[in-house]
């Protein structure tokens, strides 16, 4: 079994184990032969041969079951702490993703044959029951091709800033831990579970977005002009929704919920607070930097923001951090998106720029709609465990 290796760095979720401050553990590398090296749990490791000889020397005659261990209770979330973060990540991911489905809806609404939509569902079946709980979380409607063609001009304009932003762009390809740290004063040794939760958010958001991109199949700027010449290789998956926007806004929301009520950080309930506006500005900048790099259209980030905020809210409900019946169905209508519009991230937030506008709010832009969800999303004990551990890191 190899350690969890990230998907290629370009997608923005690379090296999950790379945030080494969290666990200090690299994956267990494969072992072959006596002379192979097993990496021990505390790093460093002792060569296989040494361990064999060591046992031979000190174990002595066999005396049977002599430890005082008793049987473990099954299906306990706290067993998670027996594994390192990058191993339990598999279990957590499976827990979350097993209730998320992504489908294509080409049926059109109001008889528009060009309406192509991708829908993200909470779809939970708990066997042996065959009853399913189904709730529509997000719908992303693909913009018309003419919109992307019109948006290309924006990509070209933003290229003026490549030199300005080159270092930022390069350092924001993977998880932007340094940037979260600079706003929230995250310390890897003080907030390991927080970082673990942030990385979980990235992975879930990425998985959903990748499935969505596959369905919507949107062209990248480099495919519309040979003059764009992005400053790094363009990924193979589709442009909309933007992975960076999706992940950045999702992480910002989750970290913001964690860090609230902490004595050192202002809470989002405090109207003058700067924490959430800073986190969201940061997310917007991370997204815009991808446009500057020549990899995305501004509309990609508008859609990614809708998706990311929704995924975060869903995750928080699954963590038991927010009421499960407070979710909404959010729609990004790419057909209603003005063709030459830039990514106006602030239009989706309230006046304090700390929280999303309520579904049905009059201030929402025409291309974003929200409707309260009539279905309750239950929390997951595994996620509740992780949430509680992370939250405990933020008490003063």
């Amino acid at each position: 079994m190899s350690g969890v290796s990230g998907v290629s760095g370009v997608s923005g979720v690379s090296g999950v184990s790379g945030v080494s401050g969290v666990s200090g553990v690299s994956g267990v590398s494969g072992v072959s032969g006596v002379s192979g090296v097993a990496a021990g749990a505390l790093g460093g490791g002792a060569p296989l041969d040494a361990l064999i000889r060591h046992r031979e020397a000190i174990a002595g005659p066999w005396l049977g079951v002599t430890s005082g261990a008793n049987e473990l209770p099954p299906d306990k979330a706290e067993h998670l702490r027996r594994s390192p973060p990058d191993i339990r990540a598999w279990a957590l991911d499976q827990e979350v993703l097993s209730s998320l489905r992504v489908t294509y809806d080409g049926s059109g609404a109001a008889g528009n044959p060009a309406r192509h939509a991708c829908v993200v569902w909470h779809a939970e079946v708990v066997p042996p029951s065959t009853e399913a709980t189904v709730a529509k979380l997000v719908e992303i409607v693909r913009p018309p091709f003419a919109t992307f063609q019109a948006q290309l001009k924006r990509v070209e304009e933003y290229a003026d800033l490549r030199e300005d932003r080159a270092l930022e762009i390069a350092s924001q390809v993977g998880p932007q831990a340094a940037y979260w740290e600079t706003v929230l004063n995250l310390r890897p040794w003080q907030h390991p579970r927080t970082l673990e939760l942030a990385l979980l958010t990235l992975r879930i958001a990425n998985a959903v977005a990748q499935r969505t991109k596959l369905i919507l199949a949107c062209r990248r700027p480099v495919e519309l002009s040979a003059q764009i010449q992005p400053m790094m290789p363009t990924p193979g998956h589709g442009a909309l929704p933007s992975g960076h926007a999706n992940e950045a806004f999702a992480v910002a929301t989750v970290l913001g919920a964690l860090a609230s009520n902490a004595g050192a950080n202002a809470s989002s309930a405090n109207p003058g607070a700067t924490m959430m506006p800073m986190l969201y500005r940061q997310a917007a900048r991370i997204a815009t930097n991808r446009t500057i790099a020549g990899l995305h259209f501004p509309v990609d980030h508008a859609a990614g923001q809708v998706l990311g905020l929704s995924i975060a809210e869903y995750l928080l409900a699954r963590c038991g951090a927010a009421p499960g019946n407070g979710l909404a169905t959010w729609t990004f209508d790419g057909i209603a998106y003005p063709a030459d519009l830039e990514h106006e991230y602030d239009r989706q937030f309230d006046a304090t720029q700390s929280a999303r506008l309520a579904p049905g709010a009059a201030d929402l832009p025409a291309y974003v709609k929200g409707e309260a969800l009539g279905v309750a999303v239950p929390p997951s004990p595994l996620l509740q465990w992780l949430w509680a551990a992370a939250k405990a890191e933020w008490t003063a």
């Binding site: 304009e157 003026d160 500005r281």
Partner: protein, 750 residues
């Protein structure tokens, strides 16, 4: 090193001065010209090669430029026959643009005969010439066009109508005129006229046989938008269509490298050049912007742009200004003095605003220098005739250059200024010491100046008195060199005195000035001696009544866009505190300065005229009220031009934002190729921002004078120290069509 100081005040018998016919009266010769002759033109690329032609900037008296150019010198003595053989005056003086019939400043190309004529104080020329300065000299006489006005072709179609945007003129170096920011949506160029003041065509001299006597410009090359071989034609030739391409790419895709190569424009090979950036800020626009103005651009010769001492600049700038006005009038279909009349045009009154992003450090700082007075005259006369006209300049970036020192000297008191001259510098170092204006208390300030080399040397000190010129030569034998090769320093104590020009009802006092120079410290490996680097000492001794003197070290840094040529010289002052306790540069002089070096009165020495619009550089702060002067922005006050008067200029008129933030230097503007952008800062960038604002003001029919510019200020300066650096305050004008560099997070943005 054996050094010797020699008196070269008297011209007679010195082969260097005789070769150029310089008259014995030192006071009439531009001190920089005098020094160039003494050193054998050390700062010119071809060194001591005998020059045939000099570019001159001349102030006339008793006769207007128009009369003078037409040969009507209004002098009692006879006009010398054949004067057109040794003095070539461009056509736009004999046939001036509207409103400029009564000007007294002109430019010309002259031979040494010009100077010989000045030997005789009763000659016709002596009666006409008040003072003159010299510029860079083309060394090919056959490149110059004759002074006779070219016969006018049939009037071209009018390219400017009343109601069109104000015409923007740009005088700069490295202008990529084919950039898409200067073109319209149909691909045609907004640059109606482009004058490249160069001497050479490509890598070699221009083919003289193809040069016509009746050339449209006195030297260099002109490209018109619509001419057969003009800019639009070249754009088409360099586009895809010319190579058989079809479809939407044919018209649009441009091989810019090829276009500039075919036009012999090597000045835009680098990815970023000053002139292109400045022109974009001043009048660049997206191709579909219908409000974008027509442009007349002048590209300075490379040696002039490269020499940041600026003493070659005035001639070429004035020529450029005349050219811009002449062409603007033609675009408006103006009536030409001797040419065909367009019956549909009465008096177009073409509005023009010109951007000049150049500056120096040393000068009188009172508006009396040649170029300042010439510009004031143009603005005054042109606007008085009902033609809106403005010239916008930057206030300078020399606050921290340690290039200004001031010393108060009591009776017989001495002071030493320490002049740190860097090693291995390819250019000369200059210092100008200006004595105060004569007054009732001190009718004739006078000092003695000694320049001491930083080496142990025999005869290393020589006190130079008023009216004398001394040179310091290296006496080690250097066989085969010319006399100028041995000169490593000069001191020229220039007396000026009272000037009167009754026709324009002005009188003003020159102030005495001492020009000190140190030859390049770079070893050229040839016959030329190099000056020793290190701390030269200027010993100043008062031999008159108590007075205060000011010294400026002339600018000599590496201009943007050229290969770096070393750091400039500066004053050395142990009492000058460079950084504060946390490492920021100190931007204000202490209340009681303990040493001579000052940050105040470091304005661009070309920008203290009375009518020019001068702007400083501001740095934007994320919170708008925090906008402040850029850390390098020069400070006033200027000096008074009249005896017992007040300075006309306390600082710039206003300050546009030239730095987007402390970490985001500069303002984004065009690189030399259409896909590029680059951020440059400085008052060079503030000026075109103001040019853009002034053009908008002018287009509404409002005056475009200094009060009007100050009226555009949005954030007022609060402290006196800021007033001297940002004038009335900050103007936040952004260039349209450019992306918001810092993003849309600032609370003031909607």
């Amino acid at each position: 090193m054996a050094l010797d100081w020699r008196n070269v005040t008297d011209a007679a018998g010195d082969p260097r001065r005789d070769a150029y016919g310089l008259p014995p009266i030192v006071a009439r010769i531009d001190p920089y010209l005098n020094r160039a002759v003494l050193t054998g033109f050390v700062d010119f690329e071809d060194g001591a090669a005998k020059r045939t032609w000099f570019s001159m900037l001349i102030e006339l008296k008793h006769v207007t430029a128009k009369q003078f150019a037409r040969g009507d010198w209004q002098a009692h003595a006879a006009v010398p026959a054949g004067w057109r053989g040794w003095m070539k005056i461009p056509a736009w003086y004999a046939d001036p643009p509207a409103g400029l019939d009564g000007t007294y400043w002109l430019t010309a190309r002259v031979t040494d005969e010009f100077f010989r004529q000045l030997h005789d104080p009763d000659s016709a020329l002596s009666r006409c010439v008040l003072r003159f300065g010299f510029g860079w000299s083309p060394d090919r006489g056959d490149l110059l066009c004759d002074g006779d006005p070219a016969p006018d072709p049939a009037p071209a179609a009018r390219r400017w109508q009343p109601g069109d945007p104000v015409i923007v003129g740009v005088i700069d170096d490295g202008i990529a005129f084919a950039h898409r920011r200067f073109r319209r949506a149909d691909g045609s160029s907004r640059v109606e006229h482009f004058w490249d003041q160069r001497e050479r065509q490509g890598d070699g001299p221009i083919d003289a046989s193809s040069w016509k006597k009746a050339a449209p410009v006195p030297f260099g090359v002109e490209l018109d938008a619509g001419a057969p071989d003009g800019i639009d034609a070249r754009l088409r030739r360099a586009s895809g269509a010319a190579r058989g391409a079809a479809g939407p790419i044919a018209a649009g895709l441009l091989d810019e490298d090829r276009l500039y190569r075919d036009a012999c424009q090597r000045e835009v090979e680098r990815r970023a050049r000053h002139g292109t950036h400045v022109m974009d800020i001043a009048c660049g626009a997206a191709p579909d912007d219908a409000t974008a103005p027509s442009i007349v651009a002048v590209q300075l010769p490379r040696p002039v742009a490269l020499d940041t001492t600026g003493h070659l600049l005035p001639t070429h700038v004035l020529e450029g200004l005349r050219y811009i006005l002449d062409r603007a009038d033609r675009m408006g279909g103006a009536v030409r003095a001797d040419g065909p009349v367009d019956p549909d045009v009465t008096d177009p009154r073409v509005p023009v605003v010109v951007n000049l992003s150049y500056g120096t450090i040393a000068g009188p700082q009172d508006g009396s220098s040649l170029l300042e007075q010439a510009m004031d005259e143009l603005i005054t006369q042109r606007t008085a005739a009902g033609h809106p006209f403005a010239i916008v300049m930057g206030a300078g970036n020399h606050l921290l250059a340690r290039a200004h020192a001031t010393v108060s000297l009591g009776l017989r008191e001495e002071a030493i200024l320490e002049w740190r001259v860097p090693a291995d510098h390819p250019g000369s170092a200059f210092m100008e010491i200006w004595l105060p204006m004569p007054s009732l208390d001190v009718p004739q300030p006078e000092i003695e100046v000694s320049l001491l080399a930083p080496v142990e040397a025999t005869n290393a000190a020589q006190a130079v008195r008023r009216g004398r010129v001394w040179e310091c030569v290296e006496t080690s034998p250097r066989p085969g060199g010319s006399p100028g090769d041995a000169v490593i320093a000069t001191v020229d104590y220039r007396t000026a005195g009272l000037h009167m020009n009754p026709e324009v009802m002005s009188f003003w006092c020159d102030r005495d000035m001492v020009l000190l120079s140190v030859s390049p410290t770079r070893r050229s490996g040839g016959l030329r001696a190099s000056a020793p680097s290190g701390t030269w000492r200027v010993l100043v001794r008062n031999v008159g009544r108590p007075c205060t003197i000011d010294a400026w070290i002339q600018r000599n840094d590496s201009p943007f866009g050229f290969t770096r040529r070393g750091v400039p010289s500066r004053f050395e002052d142990p009492a000058y505190v460079v950084h504060d306790r946390i490492g920021r540069p100190v931007e204000t002089d202490p209340a009681v300065p303990l040493g001579p070096v000052r940050r105040r009165s470091t304005l661009n020495a070309l920008a203290t005229g009375h009518r020019t619009l001068v702007v400083g550089a501001a740095r934007r702060n994320a919170a708008r009220m925090g906008d402040r002067p850029a850390s390098y922005a020069s400070s006033g006050p200027g000096f008074a031009m009249q005896p017992a008067g007040a300075p006309d200029r306390w600082g710039p008129d206003a300050a546009p934002v030239a730095d987007d933030g402390a970490a985001h230097r500069g303002v984004l503007g065009a690189g030399t190729r259409s896909a590029g952008a680059v951020a440059l800062n400085g008052s060079s960038v503030a000026a075109p921002l103001a040019t853009r604002a002034v053009a908008q003001t002018m287009s509404k029919g409002w005056p475009a004078d200094r009060p009007a510019l100050a009226g555009l200020v949005e954030v007022e300066a609060l402290a006196l120290a800021d007033l001297q650096r940002i004038g009335r305050g900050v103007i936040d004008l952004r260039v349209p069509g450019r992306v918001e560099r810092l993003g849309r997070f600032r609370p003031d943005k909607p």
